[in-house]
Symmetry: C2
Subunit: 137 residues, 2 copies
């Protein structure tokens, strides 16, 4: 149980149990946009007795306390994202993988101007193919 993770949880008003810290250690440091069951199986590698209900409860608690966000972008899949700053998402149509796109990469105009709607938040969801970079996978 890493002290830094425990402190972070406390800062968000969450009592840091061993299970919660184990979930935090994985879900706060991934950019893979895992589903709840993916988080569960990763946490179980190091913590085999953790129950599914605990992982689901913990993830929902983290969302409620603003540590992570829940996304549903494609195919009814619910995934979690530790990036809670404003950003957009790109979905690779071949692999289904989700990538974060920086907020500044796009500009959306006239958002406040839509007749009959009071917009609190928005994001652009892009779909396409990820280009293979030269040096990295």
């Amino acid at each position: 149980m890493r002290p830094d993770e425990a402190a972070l949880l406390e800062k968000h008003g969450i009592k840091p149990s061993a299970q919660r810290v184990a979930v935090a250690e994985f879900v706060l440091h991934t950019d893979a946009h895992p589903s709840a069951d993916e988080v569960w199986s990763r946490v179980r590698e190091r913590f085999p007795m953790v129950s599914r209900a605990t992982v689901y409860n913990t993830l929902n608690l983290f969302v409620e306390k603003g540590l992570i966000r829940q996304l549903t972008l494609t195919g009814g899949r619910v995934v979690f994202d530790p990036n809670v700053e404003k950003h957009h998402h790109f979905i690779d149509e071949e692999t289904g993988r989700i990538y974060d796109v920086p907020w500044e990469a796009l500009r959306v105009s006239r958002v406040d101007d839509i007749d009959g709607f009071e917009v609190h938040a928005y994001q652009v969801v892009l779909r396409g193919k990820k280009r293979s970079r030269r040096r990295r996978t």
Copy 2:
């Protein structure tokens, strides 16, 4: 079995059975963004012996043939939209209802310019509160 629906299905390469036409008659003329089970229960009102598998198969077939689109915008809910033209979506955070937003209502800049991604399609997903209009509900 309305002849116009049957003709539309055939135009899209779909053999128009009674069940398929019944699904089409509902799902092609709604802006309520229904889930598959909602479509099933609506179709059953007029066609009580239709099976769930048929409705699911039919909806997937319609998606594949480009008659409707499948959306997953919120809470892991999969819904269907007969509007296959480019458009954006607004989600009422209080009711969960989804509204179509015309493509021209917003402009997104620099979409083709994102490093490492080849964008085939995109949409803006907006969240907020629907203002109550004066005269209509």
